[in-house]
Amino acid sequence: MPVPGLPILEGLYPSTMDLYPFEAKEFNRIHPFYENLRQNRFTTTKCKKCGNTPFPPRVVCPKCNSDDLEWVDLPTQGKVLRFTEEVAGVPLGFEAPLIHALVDLGEGRKFISRVINCKEGQLKEGDTVKLAVFEVPPMIIEKRGGVMEESPRVFFAFEPVK
């Protein structure tokens, strides 16, 4: 069906409206993160020269500028420090209740993640959550000769440990 005001977009993929990262190897150099994610591994890059292990992954060490990096695993379980349940005004692409938690992964790493497979009122501070990987819509990449190829994608959140 043509989109009102945008009939030219019928059947096309407007990447500027894409919610998820351009994960395909054609569009970034940290694609192993997503390939690892598919194996239920939560990973980042470690600098072989100085040992610095920042998140998100890099292509150059932000500390010593070395580009000799390796992929290492991060913990896939953490503790909920704080959380919020957004019941109204949830952005397109998400469903209410949209739950976010400040998760402590240990090793001095705390960060905000979405919590899925969790009902409103279920989560408590101190709960353990684990990595949850799920499929998201593919990227559409135009190949030579105008051939459209679907590049499958996954993304991550955390979920309560039952």
Binding site: L19, P21, T84, E86, L92, H100
Partner: protein
């Protein structure tokens, strides 16, 4: 050539709110209001334009917007004409950059203008675009937009750690909505009572409707120039840019620089630098416009700007210390909570109010104000920007 002293001459705003107008329309309204405020200024005097906007590329489908604004407003810049994007601090970034250019002799008279058209024909697009205004691939894709959830966690942290109450959060909203009730250019002119704020529907608990800045369309503009030109163009008291700072220590939550979400170390770093550059301390500030995107923000800003001790922001606002007659009146024009927050416009709106305060012609005047401060935080609390203005250089 020795460094020149830089003055802000005056400024103007379009009407802010839910506007039946485009960003290009509102930029013209703001520029007119600004030229009206500095009657001796002619269009041909202006040799620089910095336009601060973040969403123009998404909600107006216009990038490289500065030449468009210059042409529509009849300005022909010959020193600098560019767009600035620091989301919520874009306008303040523009003023910092203009100050540097004028100081160095690389521009003489610069209009810093900015704002947003946030309402699109379908509202979902605004919320959707918000996910591009934080670290998109890592946090936007988690469904974190501009951040009621983030500031809810910040408020929970401050309440648990320091005993801050919902009433203290509400006191910020009551004060700022009252201050905004006499500001004809702001989004809301209706004051709210403590009872109304406390009973309002929850957005993300503990934050309710009146704890959050609304989504607002609008533009603002100011004029900066060097001291000699300022004397030529203005018959009002001169207001100098005394010191500025902008601190960015991280981009996504895993690299948060503080001990917890209520510990805004990047704000303290920016404040220390801005105070040093302005050769003043927090006790010298007579009036401040701080970034009250959420009520909790203003409370933590009172602490980390040094107006009160860490943890005492709640009692400080509740006892009227940030109100007229208190230690330091804050958000005298209504702040973000009453005026709204068209991102690129906010720092400029704050500069307009501080300029009028220091010139003695504000709508709600702080008596004999000599030194003023503006502050923005941007994005998912990743950046703090401070400017200090004074009647003396």
């Amino acid at each position: 050539m020795a460094d020149r002293k830089v003055c802000i001459l005056g400024g103007g705003m379009s009407k802010w709110g839910v506007r039946e107008a485009s960003i290009i329309d509102m930029a013209q309204e703001a520029a007119k209001d600004c030229f009206d405020d500095v009657p001796a200024l002619k269009k041909e005097d202006v040799d620089g334009l910095l336009f601060a906007s973040s969403y123009c590329g998404r909600s107006a489908f216009q990038v490289n917007i500065a030449p468009v604004i210059a042409e529509r407003t009849g300005i022909k810049p010959t020193s600098i004409c560019t767009r600035v994007d620091t989301l919520c601090a874009g306008g303040s970034s523009g003023i910092i950059l203009a100050t540097g250019l004028i100081k160095a002799g690389m521009a003489d008279v610069v209009m810093v203008s900015g704002g947003e058209k946030l309402y699109t024909p379908q509202r979902w697009e605004t919320y959707y675009s918000e996910m591009a205004s934080i670290d998109h691939d890592w946090e936007g894709a988690q469904g974190i937009g501009l951040p009621p959830p983030f500031f809810s966690m910040t408020a929970q942290e401050h309440m648990k750690r320091y005993g801050t109450t919902k009433e203290q959060l509400s006191a910020v909203s009551v004060k700022n909505r009252r201050n905004g009730s006499t500001n004809p250019k702001g989004h809301f002119q209706k004051a709210v009572t403590m009872e109304e704020v406390m009973a309002a529907r929850a957005v993300v608990p503990p934050l309710g409707l009146f704890d959050c800045t609304p989504i607002t369309d609008g533009c603002a503009a100011v004029i900066l120039t060097h001291e000699d030109k300022a004397k030529e163009l203005s018959d009002k008291p001169l207001v100098y840019v005394r010191g500025t700072a902008q601190a960015t220590l991280h981009s996504m939550s895993m690299n948060w620089p503080g001990e917890d979400l209520a510990d805004w170390v990047h704000l303290r770093i920016a404040a220390k630098k801005a105070y040093e550059r302005a050769r003043v301390g927090p006790e010298d500030i007579d009036v401040a416009q701080t970034h009250d995107c959420f009520t909790i923000s203003e409370i933590i800003e009172m602490e980390d700007l040094g107006f009160c001790k860490k943890g005492e922001g709640g009692p400080f606002v509740e006892s009227g210390q940030s109100d007229f007659g208190g230690k330091i009146p804050v958000n005298t024009d209504g702040g973000l909570l009453a005026c709204g927050h068209p991102f690129g416009g906010t720092g400029i709106r704050q500069a307009c109010e501080i300029t009028m305060q220091l010139q003695g012609r504000a709508i709600r005047q702080v008596e004999s104000a000599k030194i003023g401060l503006t502050h923005n935080l941007s994005g998912l609390n990743v950046e703090h920007t401070i400017l200090i203005y004074g009647r003396e250089p």
